[in-house]
Symmetry: C2
Subunit: 321 residues, 2 copies
């Protein structure tokens, strides 16, 4: 069933021996939500553990606490919009310990898979929701600087550091409170937004040399092949920054990044301006996400063929909001 805020706030406090699941290709919001909740439960003397099909990328490791081993009594998901985003190893876990009893999410495109759901489709991040739910029962939680740092990570990364249109006055007020709680925002922002390895710089240069731009200059497509990533010594977890690059070019309304995941599979990220729906573009290919940032995947097509499909879809969706 759909929970209201008070019910959801209560449910988090009732969690015992909880296994917290994050979505595949994890980002700062799903991991920040998961580890914040995990740390908050551990601080109350409960047992809790976070699991993600793809593990925790190096740059997010600072969020990981010491987690006990135990047989989960409850399975909770954070920031997962669709069971299709579990990933195989998570599916096995859900089969073994499931069903998912509680899902906390902020994706308007959420497709229910859990017994109970708390959804705030207009929240910029899932971390924003976790904070709000904990504040609703603040006397019952023991929130420390590390928990604040996990939540800040999701609040900042899902809003492009407070730049995207999903940023609300509430987002800023929560950031203020998280900083007051000791969130190490300087280090977190430096790692999330202002750190590039030489490999990333090299990859950026290679990708820009091959940038495809539509004749009217409104659609830009960047292609990252596995070979380019090998040459630059960069792995997929380091591609977040480059994904926002095409949209940064002056005049570009739809920025597309095509990333090769293996021989035949390509992952596509779409970023759009205020007048075009990234969700609508990606939905045409079975993908989804947010209004200004969405994604989809392709199997067995060449990057050029994928680019043509995306460009055609972008042309049709452009200006439709």
């Amino acid at each position: 069933m759909l929970l209201d805020k008070q019910q959801a706030a209560g449910r988090l406090l009732e969690l015992e021996d909880a296994l917290i699941l994050c979505h595949r290709n994890p980002d700062g919001d799903t991991l920040g939500s998961g580890f914040a909740l995990c740390r908050a439960l551990l601080a109350l003397g409960r047992r809790a553990r976070v699991f993600c099909h793809d593990g925790v990328p190096e740059k997010f490791r600072y969020m990981v606490p010491e987690m006990p081993e135990f047989e989960p009594k409850t399975v909770v998901t954070v920031d997962i919009a669709d069971a299709a985003l579990f990933g195989g190893r998570t599916e096995e876990i859900v089969q073994k310990y499931g069903p998912v009893s509680l899902a906390i999410d902020h994706h308007p495109s959420h497709r229910p898979f859990a017994d109970d759901l708390y959804l705030e489709g207009d929240s910029a991040s899932c971390c924003e929701i976790i904070w709000e739910l904990m504040q609703a029962r603040k006397e019952d939680w023991k929130l420390d600087a590390k928990i604040a740092g996990c939540l800040y990570t999701g609040v900042a990364t899902d809003t492009g550091c407070f730049k995207f249109s999903n940023t609300s006055p509430r987002t800023h007020r929560i950031a203020a409170e998280l900083i007051e709680r000791g969130a190490d925002y300087v280090t977190i922002n430096k790692v999330m937004f202002d750190t590039k390895t030489f490999g990333e710089l090299k990859l950026e240069q290679m990708a820009l040399d091959r940038l495809w731009l539509s004749e009217d200059g409104k659609i830009a497509v960047l292609t990252i092949t596995a070979e380019m990533m090998r040459e630059a010594g960069v792995d997929e977890t380091m591609l977040d920054a480059i994904t926002s690059l095409p949209r940064k070019i002056e005049g570009v309304e739809v920025g597309v990044t095509i990333k090769q995941r293996d021989e035949t599979e390509y992952k596509v990220s779409v970023r759009t301006g205020e007048t075009t729906s990234a969700t609508a573009i990606c939905a045409r290919f079975g993908g989804g996400g947010h209004a200004r940032a969405a994604g989809c995947q392709f199997e067995g097509l060449s990057p050029a063929a994928i680019r043509e499909k995306l460009a055609a879809a972008a042309r049709e969706e452009m200006g439709r909001g």
Copy 2:
């Protein structure tokens, strides 16, 4: 004399026929402060005008209101730390209409030049101060979305979009209030942080090809010559973004950008990590600024010679906080 908050708040409301001066090489904070104050005075039916030695760069034009011509009765400066930052044309104006009766600033390194000064050395931006002073007498001002947008511009740009260590809980709460007042933060952030012309991308590529890195990888120096700027078709007002590039490279503690201004003059921007003072490095060469972002200038030295001086100074200041 040094004013307290209530006195300063009152002084802003008393301004009649005020000429508001911004510092040379204007940034989002000095222009945001100037035009917010100017617009707020115009909204009260007063006459007010903003002047900057170097004019208003294209990307900041959205802040400029219709400004009346008149003989100024009062001269006010915003975000100007030192009379040396006036620029020649502003000096003439101060000689003609001066002295400066009121200076509002947030630079700890402020060197008094005005009859009265209101200084908040720990404020992230001058726009934060202007907002606070207007809120102290909020019933007397008529603040609209345009004014909020001007103030948001300075609040966001001087904190690197809430990333730098000068960002405080107050900064975020003010951003929340400015968004509630209608500040068009999405467009402003897109223009300030997420827009690159092909020229800028080209210049970035050229500069990175010539990046100098110290053996221990802690000091990175980027040099932008007038010829490179000509080749890329980029002017000095478009170099803000590139200035933060060296410090973004993983492991770099001191990032330096040397920009040629004319045949013999070079402008240097220094960005540092938490353990090194950018002010201290630049002070050695007669410059100044903030703890993590400062600048200085050189006359008649080659970029290579300037680089050596900066690298030597950086080595000595590194780790001294």
